[in-house]
């Protein structure tokens, strides 16, 4: 495999570069996303805060409908409006407010600074163009380089993401690639301009377990090489544990728990996070009975009052149905939004 310098034509310079170490790569405060639907207002994300440091990996974990994907789509500015409505106190990328940018300025950020990899690689690629054309397009649009240069760089990128015989495969169409190889093409496209932040939305969910392991390893290698920040959206606790420094657990549009991944899942301070761990079958041995969380995730149009998790919670008391628990610091680097988080942390 050739050593490729994955530096984009524009490098990472320009917008919002900052020498201040303390400025996080991304800082989101009070993010709310609502959709007007024929059945009423749907609040998909409800006041989410998170920070991501340079070079850090953050996992956003949650079940379907928890708002984890919409969260990052709002950051990327790709939520359609209408019907969507994004509000936030701040969405700072390297200290600069993303919402102040015009659409054309935002287009320069997308891809060059913040890139995204999606869940269904076959659906995210255009079936009518070869993968070489599609990777090349990213380079040509953003840097205005010639077709020949774009083609050469596309080949280098395909080599780097581990696509065998990249030379000949440049001219293949997406349908000629397997799911795993398509995902590598997507990653090559995302990396083409050396973004500072990569957002991967369920990048391995559609893949077989052995291919998943390969793609996760590739993402980690690339991260180590380029020093980019990574946000990984997943529903799989095992995947989060494998790659993420920190994890954010979402439920019904809110963050219910966050902290260093290992701590969150070995000593959860929110009953939902604990429930998720207990519900997973173990590879090491058969359990007499799994401990499921009762009920099902709520309909986002009809989220229970008080703590949204209270109807499914085994610890729930009267207060939980009335009073909304605040997300608050429980210990160093740990936050939880349960009335009884402190007790859980102490082990009561």
């Amino acid at each position: 495999m050739s050593e490729v310098d994955v530096k984009g034509p524009q490098g990472g310079k320009g917008f919002g570069s900052s020498n201040d170490e303390a400025v996080p790569l991304l800082s989101v405060v009070g993010l709310t996303v609502e959709f007007n639907t024929p059945f009423g207002l749907l609040r998909a994300v409800n006041g989410v805060d998170f920070d991501l440091a340079e070079g850090e990996t953050l996992a956003i974990l949650g079940e379907s409908g928890s708002g984890k994907s919409v969260c990052v789509q709002a950051v990327m500015g790709i939520v359609d409006s209408p019907p969507g409505r994004v509000t936030a106190r701040q969405i700072l990328y390297r200290g600069s407010e993303l919402r102040d940018l015009s659409e054309s300025e935002m287009q320069k950020i997308r891809g060059a600074q913040i890139a995204m990899v999606f869940q269904e690689p076959h659906a995210a690629l255009d079936p009518a163009f070869t993968v070489g054309q599609q990777i090349g397009e990213v380079l040509r649009v953003h840097s205005g380089c010639s077709r020949a240069v774009a083609r050469a760089r596309s080949k280098e990128l395909m080599d780097r993401v581990g696509i065998p015989s990249a030379d000949s495969r440049l001219d293949d169409y997406p349908h000629e690639f397997s799911g795993g190889m398509c995902q590598r093409v997507m990653i090559a496209m995302a990396l083409a301009l050396e973004p500072k932040l990569l957002i991967a939305d369920e990048p391995t969910t559609a893949l077989d377990v052995t291919v998943q392991a390969q793609v996760l390893e590739l993402l980690q290698d690339l991260k180590a090489e380029t020093g980019m920040g990574l946000i990984l959206i997943t529903h799989d606790v095992g995947v989060a544990a494998e790659v993420a420094d920190r994890s954010l657990v979402m439920y019904a549009g809110k963050v219910v728990e966050s902290g260093p991944t290992l701590e969150v899942f070995t000593k959860p301070t929110h009953p939902y996070a604990l429930g998720l761990i207990e519900a997973i079958p173990q590879l090491e041995g058969r359990l007499e009975k799994l401990v499921p969380i009762k009920g099902a995730p709520p309909d986002p149009r009809n989220i229970p009052g008080g703590c949204a998790f209270h109807p499914r919670c085994s610890r729930s008391v009267e207060r939980c149905g009335i009073e909304v628990p605040e997300l608050r610091s429980i210990a160093d680097g740990r936050s939880s939004a349960c009335h009884y988080a402190e007790e859980m942390f102490r082990g009561d």
């Binding site: 077989d208 052995t210 998943q212 606790v237 095992g238 544990a241 604990l274 173990q282 499921p292």
Partner: protein
């Protein structure tokens, strides 16, 4: 006896027996220039027994033939060669007129609970339909009551019988799918990825339900899934498939603790460990590349192109499924090797206190 060799329970006769079952699909290229016919061997000489009352898990990556195998057993697909015996009766070439009778005893739970229920039928009608088709399962006129009972049995309220599928969540729909599968009182239920479309918190409910129903009704399951932890939880025995062939089969504990085929080992090694747990089989090399095209499988052992042990023998000679190590479970590898992990002292996460 073959059944013992595969780690099956001794004694009782198998409810299902597959002998050297293969399924080939003829593919025709429509292009004039490259016109050639290709043969895709989706299932390639599979033999196995399923004992009454047990759960046989079938695992493998996409394209390994696990779903085709299920379709052959249900006679939704005809085997190209080989024989399928259900309760000692050869059903491989049962005439179409007798398939309805067969399917009273063999039912299926599908993956997608959103696609597998007719949106225009009430839940009650969906569950009662098998009892109407298969006469004699319940007394005439009692289908409705039986449907209500089944609803309660799978953890739903009787009143739901009047509602339509769109009113239910994914987990509830899968419960309805299970109730329908059980309506004709089948002896064998094939579950094809029954929990892979469900959220983790709901998945555990369905796995527990399937187990409870088995304990109560004595039904036999063939459980097909790609999630190795899920298969571990539900199965008594496990068959691992690769490119249409079984590469290893045996008791669940044996397969998960002491896999001897390199493919099984690397499959288990690829599963992300749960937080705070040691990863299994770390000494096993990470599997490179992807499953080769089933249109043009490698000679000899199909796995050799991805295998770190492959020798010239593997390219020439196809390894048969047998117990080379006298471990009690067979594998199809020329160089099987024990890699048992010491898992004593490992307790499940989050439950340290009550184990």
């Amino acid at each position: 006896m073959e059944t013992d060799r595969q780690g099956g329970r001794q004694g009782s006769l198998p409810i299902l027996r597959l002998e050297n079952v293969s399924k080939e699909f003829q593919l025709r290229s429509r292009s004039v220039i490259t016109r050639r016919n290709a043969t895709l061997k989706a299932v390639d000489g599979v033999s196995l027994d399923v004992k009454s009352g047990e759960t046989l898990g079938v695992v493998g990556e996409s394209g390994c033939g696990k779903s085709t195998l299920a379709r052959i057993i249900l006679r939704l697909e005809d085997a190209t060669s080989g024989d399928v015996y259900f309760r000692q009766q050869n059903i491989t070439r049962l005439p179409a007129s007798r398939l309805v009778g067969l399917r009273r005893h063999i039912q299926m739970v599908f993956q997608d609970p959103f696609a597998s229920l007719d949106p225009r039928m009430t839940i009650g009608a969906i569950i009662a339909e098998p009892m109407v088709i298969h006469k004699g399962v319940v007394e005439k006129g009692e289908e409705r009551d039986s449907a209500h009972e089944l609803l309660e049995r799978v953890g739903l309220r009787r009143q739901y019988a009047e509602r339509f599928p769109h009113e239910f969540s994914g987990g509830q729909r899968q419960r309805i799918g299970i109730a329908r599968a059980l309506a004709s009182k089948p002896e064998l239920v094939i579950c094809d990825e029954p929990v892979s479309a469900l959220d983790v918190s709901v998945q555990a409910q369905i796995l527990n339900l399937l187990k409870e129903l088995q304990d109560d009704l004595g039904v036999t399951y063939i459980f097909i899934a790609h999630d190795l932890s899920v298969v571990r939880q539900i199965s008594d025995r496990v068959a691992v498939m690769y490119l249409g062939k079984i590469v290893e089969i045996g008791n669940s504990d044996e397969i998960y603790r002491n896999p001897v085929h390199p493919y099984t080992q690397s499959l288990l090694a690829a599963v992300p460990a749960n937080p705070g747990r040691p990863k299994s089989f770390q000494q096993v090399p990470k599997l490179q590349g992807e499953v080769p095209s089933p249109l043009d499988p490698p000679s000899g052992c199909h796995f050799r192109t991805r295998c770190w042990k492959a020798s010239s023998k593997c390219a020439e000679e196809r390894p048969v499924l047998m117990d080379r190590l006298h471990h009690g479970h067979p594998s199809a590898c020329h160089y099987p090797e024990s890699t048992s992990v010491d898992i004593t002292g490992i307790t499940p996460v989050g439950r340290q206190s009550d184990v």
